[in-house]
């Protein structure tokens, strides 16, 4: 009697508990390194907010974990009949988080807002600079972006002043055109105005940013209910939180790479990919005379053992880079030969150039921001050991360093360039192209520049990639720089979290992620 009711009671409780746990909210907790600077796609301009914005807003295309671009808000596109430009066919039936339907009107609105001189627009505006009429909007002369024509709700024409073949893959996030009227100009701290799989709910500064699932997402509701981006600045603190079960997915910060790689506990939870960041040792020929000689530049590269660097400097958390375009980015050339370490040859080249054992070389500083101080100490020591080069370390505060680099005032420095979209052109056209403001080593090679000009007007993808390969080889033959190993991007995934990946561009969007 008692036993039966006891069993009944037990079963009921068990069922209830089961139901409750099944109904319990699935929250994914991820760490980010600092407060994002902003929460909207207009002023968006830095990496941390990018991670969050990617889940809330969408562009014409989106990246897959292996670096390809696939249609998102634009189903297809073709070149315009007259002049340069594209006609985009937009995805129908997409809703914003506010409930409104996404149409071509919103695209035009987003573009105009990005170009509006009174909005503190971030990176997005850069991508629009070739659109017809963009200058007029930027200077305030006009509010209407003439080059963009709304053909109908799901078709839009974008006309350029010059060919911009990569336009469809630019990450220009589209926002809800009705949100400002509804919520006012500071809507971004209150509501969400995107089409993405998650909606922005709140931002507790210094603590966390919270997103919640968009059940009406066009590709199906996400399998998790909420995401909490916890702001953890310190590497060890973050790892300790992961160990303690306070984080489900950990973005591993650089200072603890070695620790994580060396710990057998994490072996099955580790996701390691090369970052989409082209790293190099810049040698400014205008500032340090010996760099003018190709043999000196080659000697510098030959004096650095990339394998030992990967193992020693990066604790194994790095991948070799033999050119400019990194793996996982469109146009990557896997056939490039690995960077050689040949101290004997390096010494010979240096002697041939007129500096046997480094004699006669003026002193040179190798400069970088404080995070790279150990690398600098290593280069200084190694180059001195092998070549007798009188290199001293110069650690410069970050903002000052970036300013000096941009002004072309730094003679010798390791740095990298992170791609914002998965195409090698991002690197090639910005880092080594003569007139590019980001050509920090002030490298100049007309042959290379011609190849890049050609590539920028080549619509056929494979032909364009061939041009990329050619351009890369020109750079390498001329020893424009010394490619350095790419840092890995490390992440740890708790065993009960699935369909989550780490890509060269950061985490993939969490729309398919599940938690057991």
């Amino acid at each position: 009697m008692i036993t039966r009711s006891f069993i009944k009671g037990f079963l009921c409780t068990a069922l209830l508990a089961f139901a409750c746990s099944a109904a319990a909210a699935k929250t994914l907790r991820v760490n980010i390194q600092a407060d994002p600077a902003m929460m909207d796609p207009i002023t968006y301009s830095e990496l941390v907010s990018g991670r969050i914005i990617e889940n809330v807003y969408e562009a014409f295309t989106t990246k897959t974990p292996d670096g390809k671009s696939v249609p998102a808000l634009a189903l297809s596109w073709e070149p315009l009949q007259s002049g340069y430009g594209f006609r985009f066919h937009l995805r129908p039936g997409v809703k914003f988080h506010s409930g409104r339907t996404f149409t071509a009107k919103d695209v035009k609105y987003t573009f105009e807002t990005l170009l509006d001189p009174t909005m503190k627009a971030g990176l997005g505006a850069e991508y629009l600079k070739n659109i017809v009429g963009a200058d007029d909007v930027k200077s305030g002369k006009s509010k209407d972006l003439k080059g963009v024509t709304v053909v109908d709700d799901n078709t839009i024409d974008v006309a350029f002043t010059k060919l911009d073949v990569l336009f469809p893959i630019y990450p220009i996030y589209i926002m809800d055109s009705g949100i400002v009227a509804e919520q006012g100009p500071d809507w971004m701290t209150k509501v969400s105005a995107g089409t993405g799989p998650f909606k922005f709910t709140q931002w507790k500064r210094g603590v966390e940013v919270d997103l919640t699932a968009n059940k009406d997402y066009w590709d199906g509701a996400p399998k998790i209910d909420d995401i909490r981006f916890l702001i953890v600045g310190d590497a060890n603190t973050a790892l300790a939180q992961y160990d303690a079960g306070e984080l489900d997915f950990l973005d591993v910060y650089e200072p603890i790479y070695q620790r994580v790689l060396g710990d057998a506990r994490y072996k099955d939870q580790l996701l390691s990919v090369p970052r989409a960041q082209s790293r190099y040792l810049g040698m400014n020929q205008k500032l340090y005379a010996p760099f003018k000689d190709k043999r000196v530049r080659e000697a510098v590269s030959l004096a650095l053992p990339r394998d030992a660097m990967i193992k020693g400097l990066y604790g194994g958390a790095a991948f070799p880079l033999n050119g400019v375009v990194t793996p996982g980015v469109g146009g990557y050339d896997p056939t490039l030969p690995p960077m050689k370490y040949d101290p004997v040859m390096a010494k010979k080249l240096m002697a041939d150039a007129g500096y046997p054992d480094g004699k006669g070389l003026p002193p040179i500083m190798i400069t970088c921001s404080p995070e790279y101080k150990d690398e600098l100490a290593y280069y200084a020591d190694q180059l001195h050991k092998v070549l007798g080069m009188p290199v001293t370390v110069n650690v410069m505060e970050r903002a000052t360093f970036i300013k000096a680099m941009n002004a072309g005032e730094v003679a010798f420095f390791p740095w990298g360039w992170t791609a914002d979209y998965p195409d090698g052109m991002y690197y090639l056209a910005q880092m080594w192209y003569g007139p590019s403001p980001y050509n920090r080593a002030r490298y100049s090679n007309p042959d290379y520049d011609h190849l890049i000009d050609e590539a920028q007007s080549t619509i056929d993808v494979q032909k364009r990639y061939d041009l990329y390969h050619q351009a890369e080889r020109v750079l390498l033959d001329d020893w424009a720089m010394a490619p350095l190993p790419i840092e890995a991007s490390l992440a740890l995934r708790k065993p009960n979290v699935h369909n989550i990946s780490n890509t060269p561009f950061g985490f993939s969007s969490f729309k398919d992620t599940t938690i057991d």
Partner: protein, 295 residues
């Protein structure tokens, strides 16, 4: 001004006990002797040591990073395969050089300003002390960051930052001591007999306030070393590849779980050194403070 309970009573010239009595009292305090020995050891290591390091302190060996103590590297290696022992020795020099330089600068400026303010009084005192108040009100870390950002990191910058932060405390103390001393009869006697001001300050005031100042500052060395370590820990300190204990601890902390030697030995060196200076300072103070005599 502010109640400063740490102000030792000034010792008028005629009351100093004979040197022998002093020494005996000093030795009687075992802790002070321990402190003295430690400080002596550190000074020795810091001044002579760098010439005898087992390895060049900046020699890297990427195939031998984070290794535990071995025959070749008695205390192990760090992130770039550099020998920890060699870097500890050079770090001793860094800490000492910074501490001594900061001390010298702050004593010079602080004592001068404090004496002027305390002796002259009036608007000079007001002005100088206002300045001191402002300086003391600034958070030390902010000063360090501002100075470092403007001047770039490095030993000189650290010395300047720490001096800026530290001198006002010395000035305050000097002023308090000077004010009290000024009221002594023998000062009046000197003034009446026509002794010029600089001579009064130099011959009569300075020798009598010097002892407590010295005591206060010898304890201060410990704090200066810790401040330098903190700055290096925050990344505002000594430039690479020069070694500093604070920087070594900072580099070693992420590896505390897997390879604790860098953080451990760095902390040990830092801790023991500061303990030594503190013990020495305490010993000196106990020795010279007449209030604690006879116990």
């Amino acid at each position: 001004m502010t109640a400063d309970a740490e102000v030792a009573a000034p010792i008028a010239a005629r009351d100093l006990p004979p040197i022998l009595g002093l020494w005996r009292r000093f030795v009687a305090q075992r802790s002070a002797v321990i402190g003295f020995v430690i400080v002596l050891f550190v000074i020795l290591v810091g001044s002579v040591g760098p010439a005898f390091t087992p390895h060049p302190f900046d020699e890297t060996d990427l195939l031998n990073t984070w290794s535990p103590p071995s025959e070749n590297n008695m205390l192990g290696t760090d992130r770039l395969g550099r020998d920890i022992l060699s870097r500890l020795i050079v770090g001793a020099r860094t800490s000492l050089v910074v501490a001594v330089t900061v001390l010298a600068i702050t004593l010079l400026i602080g004592v001068a300003v404090g004496m002027a303010a305390g002796y002259l009084g009036g608007w000079i005192d007001g002005l100088l002390m206002r300045t001191v108040d402002v300086m003391l009100a600034f958070p030390a870390v902010i000063v360090a960051i501002l100075v470092t950002s403007v001047l770039g990191s490095g030993e000189t910058t650290v010395i300047i930052s720490l001096s800026i932060v530290w001198w006002s405390g010395v000035a305050r103390l000097t002023r308090s001591l000077t004010i009290v001393l000024r009221q002594e009869l023998f000062i009046d006697a000197a003034i009446v007999s026509g002794t010029p001001l600089p001579l009064i300050l130099w011959r009569h005031i300075l020798p009598n306030i010097f002892a407590p100042i010295l005591v206060r500052t010898s304890v201060g060395v410990g704090f200066i070393i810790m401040a330098e370590a903190t700055l290096s820990f925050l990344g505002l300190g000594i430039q690479e590849p020069q070694a500093s204990w604070g920087g070594m601890i900072r580099d070693g902390l992420p590896m505390l779980g897997a390879d604790p030697y860098l953080a451990l030995f760095g902390s040990l060196a830092l801790g023991v050194t500061i303990i030594g200076f503190n013990l020495l300072g305490d010993g000196l103070r106990d020795m010279l403070d007449p209030r604690l005599q006879g116990r």
